[in-house]
């Protein structure tokens, strides 16, 4: 677990110390592009998360679609 703890700590520190520049509203056109969305296609994302939730030993983090299932 030590190695994972170190990776976790380093990534947290990197995230917290990220140099953020002030971005004015008129400079945000690129950020609003559809390809910059976290999930460009929600239905496909929902399906993929449900498959991974059903077929792998871990789940969550950025979502599983809907409720549980008797998937085996």
């Amino acid at each position: 677990m030590k190695i994972y703890s170190r990776i976790f700590a380093v990534l947290i520190i990197c995230f917290l110390t990220f140099s953020c520049s002030s971005v004015s509203p008129w400079e945000r056109g690129i950020l609003a592009k559809p390809e910059m969305a976290w999930e460009p296609d929600p239905l496909i994302g929902q399906l993929q998360e449900h498959v991974y939730f059903s077929k792998e030993g871990s789940s969550g983090g950025y979502g599983a679609g809907g409720g549980g299932c008797g998937c085996n």
Partner: protein, 399 residues
């Protein structure tokens, strides 16, 4: 396809979209601001698991063909006004095939899969209703859902709240969700199975979303999920020299996740680079790393193209063995490949075109798993590890 922006920043817009994907938080409500117009989305997927290789199957294995599933997804989004929208979703799964039953050793002590004797046919219906209220600084999103199949029902729901800081570059979100599931296994002569069991799930998450610069945005989420109740698979057994026993897992499980996502737009490629990483840990001692790298491009003529590669690696649960040589004192057993140590690689491609009010979508995914893909060395591979292919066709229509 057009959206009103209502002065909400890209940070909050992106956060809302991502956080909605959490369990019980409506996966069907994805817009960050109320839509201009109603939108209907339909999607069909053909999911096909590879058969168990003959060399990995016991002679008495039964049908080596695994699941084929037809999936139909329908979603309808209806804006009531510029502050409130309703989304309803429906999913229909029609599945057929065999499933790994247990694993036994061959004469050399190597594991062989024995499949469920008969082809399993089942259908699943999943209904969701969600709403989103867009305030000046807050967005509130409740949802409820119900999923049912021949032997399984699940009732679930959740709510999340997002807040955008005055600098409009940072936003935070938090949410809770619950689900109550009940299983009533199909009984089979000569096989010992539980009759009726249930389980509960409670999940909590917190997210921070930050605009880094005019090309880059990042998001990080911490989550915890608690399961309580019957967490075993009633259709699986484990091999013991003294005779098979039912799959029997602990009746609680706590899962922790930390995920971080980055989106960076490349002027050179006129495309967005997607980087997603998730670390997962639970108290069954399963740990996993998931890394997803993608490239998304949308042209001015309405074509959109995306490709991605996903890497996944997990360790085994404490009590997992491909087969057992002696009785365990704690009475916990499972030979489920999902609790075994392995890694997987998935390749995905997507293509869509928007013409007027219509968007037509095509997608494909190939998923391969193997012990050699694992971060850590694996001595004995579970012979039931999964490979699959899926193809998707969908369309959206904005009224």
């Amino acid at each position: 396809m057009s959206k009103k922006h209502n002065g909400i920043s890209p940070a909050l817009a992106a956060l809302t979209t991502a956080a909605m994907a959490l369990p019980g938080i409506s996966p069907t409500v994805k817009a960050a601001v109320a839509a201009n117009e109603p939108k209907l989305s339909l999607q069909y997927t053909f999911y096909d698991e590879d058969s168990i290789p003959s060399g990995d199957a016991a002679p008495e294995a039964g049908d080596r063909d695994r699941y084929e599933i037809d999936v139909l997804q329908v979603q309808f989004l209806y804006p009531l006004n510029d502050k409130l929208q309703i989304t309803t979703g429906f999913v229909y799964d029609d599945m057929s095939g065999s499933s790994p039953w247990f694993i036994r050793p061959d004469a050399n002590g190597d594991p062989l899969v024995v499949m469920s004797g008969a082809t399993i046919d089942d259908t699943r219906y999943d209904y969701t209703v969600g709403a989103q209220y867009f305030g000046e600084k807050y967005t509130v999103s409740p949802n409820i859902g119900y999923s049912t199949e021949k032997d399984y029902t699940s009732v679930y729901g959740g709510v999340q709240v997002e807040y955008e800081f005055p600098n409009k570059s940072t936003s935070i979100s938090g949410g809770v969700s619950v689900s109550f599931d009940e299983i009533d296994p199909t009984q089979e002569a000569g096989v010992v199975r539980v009759n009726n069991e249930d389980k509960e799930n409670y999940s909590l998450f917190g997210t921070i979303n930050q605009v880094i610069n005019k090309h880059t945005i990042i998001q990080s989420t911490l989550g915890v999920s608690i399961f309580d109740g019957y967490l075993s698979d009633p259709y699986k057994q484990v091999f013991l020299p003294t005779g098979n026993l039912p799959d029997s897992r602990p009746d609680d499980r706590i899962q922790y996740t930390w995920s971080t996502r980055l989106r960076r737009y490349s002027e050179l490629l006129s495309a967005a680079l997607h980087v997603d990483y998730r670390f997962y840990y639970d108290d069954w001692n399963v740990r996993s790393h998931t890394l997803d790298l993608g490239l998304n491009k949308v042209t001015e003529s309405g074509w959109a193209f995306d490709s991605s590669i996903r890497y996944y690696s997990q360790t085994q649960a404490d009590f997992y063995e491909p087969f057992y040589t002696q009785v365990r004192a704690d009475g916990e057993y499972s030979s489920d490949y999902r609790l075994s140590p392995y890694g997987s690689i998935a390749f995905r491609l997507g293509l869509s075109e928007t013409i007027g009010d219509w968007t037509i979508k095509l997608g494909a995914e190939r998923y391969l798993s193997d012990k050699s893909y694992s971060v850590q060395s694996v001595d004995v591979e579970n012979p039931a590890l999964l490979d699959y292919t899926q193809f998707t066709f969908g369309m959206d229509y904005s009224f």
